[in-house]
Amino acid sequence: MYYFDPHIHMVSRTTDDYATLARMGCVAVSEPAFWAGFDRGSVDSFRDYFHQLTDFERRRAAQFGIQHFTWLCINAKEAENVELSREVIAMIPEFLDEPGVLGIGEIGLNKNTRNEAQIFLEHLDLAIQFDQPILIHTPHLEDKYLGTRMILDMLTSDHRIDTDRVLVDHVEEHTVGDVLKDGFWAGMTLYPVTKCTPQRAADIIEVYGPERLLVNSAGDWGPSKPTAVPDFIFEMRQRGHAESVIRRVVYENPIEFFSQSSNFDYRAPDEEAVVTI
């Protein structure tokens, strides 16, 4: 089965990982901008990072038949530096017309501070000004419920926000209901210890149905598994779910959501096949 990993940080992964993903059926990835593991010191660091995301990474993925898309922002961890955050937000429009740029993300909250919320609101203004879809990071562990509710409060109290064009990521059992009820798309991240497991993601699909739900690996430089989406496919098959339901979650839903971006030029592999004998 072809699948799409809608949230994976390939700049942190090896070229071998691209080969493995391709062998497991991955045909496209979307890579939100995120934290590098250290706080960057200047807007030029982000400019270089955005070049990497929009140029080098796209070409590296293409070598394995994987189409690479990306999202741009300054992440919540670095939003404590408000001055730098504003410089980055002002610079982002330089890249919005680059091929493969799908929108603004992953913006969100980390420790649910005032500065994080302030920069989140300024990212929303940027997305609205440039008519961009939005990909949202929700916090980890004990901060997730509070942070998700704060994010939903900011989104739903802004009449300019089109819920169809917002994906709220890293949902779990205690947040998925609120996200879907408010009309947003929801992403489940499959991690070895924190966030969701493939089994719990399958449970959530069974409870809420496949509409507006995506699964991703969020593979990065920390404990994570870039092939977690195939693990989810395997779990769903073991439970006897129809291939059409699985395909909807891992392939059709990401395409439907991302198709709202003007830079989403995805080409299905079977449409490209030309064999000369």
């Binding site: 649910n112 005032r114 919320a117 302030q118 609101l121 929303l124 203004d125 609205i128 562990l141 004990e142 901060d143 997730k144 419920y145 509070l146 509710r149 704060m150 409060d153 109290s157 802004d158 009449h159 300019r160 779990e172 059992e173 205690h174 719990r200 449970d203 073991q238 439970r239 006897g240 779910h241 129809a242």
Partner: protein
């Protein structure tokens, strides 16, 4: 697709047994160790988590998640001094 409870138990029994065993071994490890975790808020949360599992309520996973979560204050924006502004209709 309709899977029966017995089918699920057939499939997951050994895995569940193994997870209970892991919990038991972790608790034994804590007990063998020097000192005590009595009074530690994390220990209290773990005890409450086990009670959720043994209870009869629905959505145990959601209940456990909320148990380990900070609570939401609807007045958070006022407390942060973040007005709802012109963008909020």
């Amino acid at each position: 697709m309709e899977t029966s409870a017995t089918q699920i138990l057939d499939r997951e029994f050994l895995e569940l047994r193994a997870r209970i065993l892991e919990l038991a071994a972790s608790f034994d490890r804590l007990e063998r160790a020097k000192g005590t975790v009595e009074g530690d808020q994390r220990w209290d949360l773990l005890q409450q988590g086990l009670e959720v599992l043994l209870g009869s309520q629905e959505e145990r996973a959601r209940a456990v998640q909320l148990l380990f979560s900070l609570s939401y204050d609807p007045d958070w924006r006022e407390k942060y001094g973040l007005s709802r502004g012109v963008s909020n209709g």
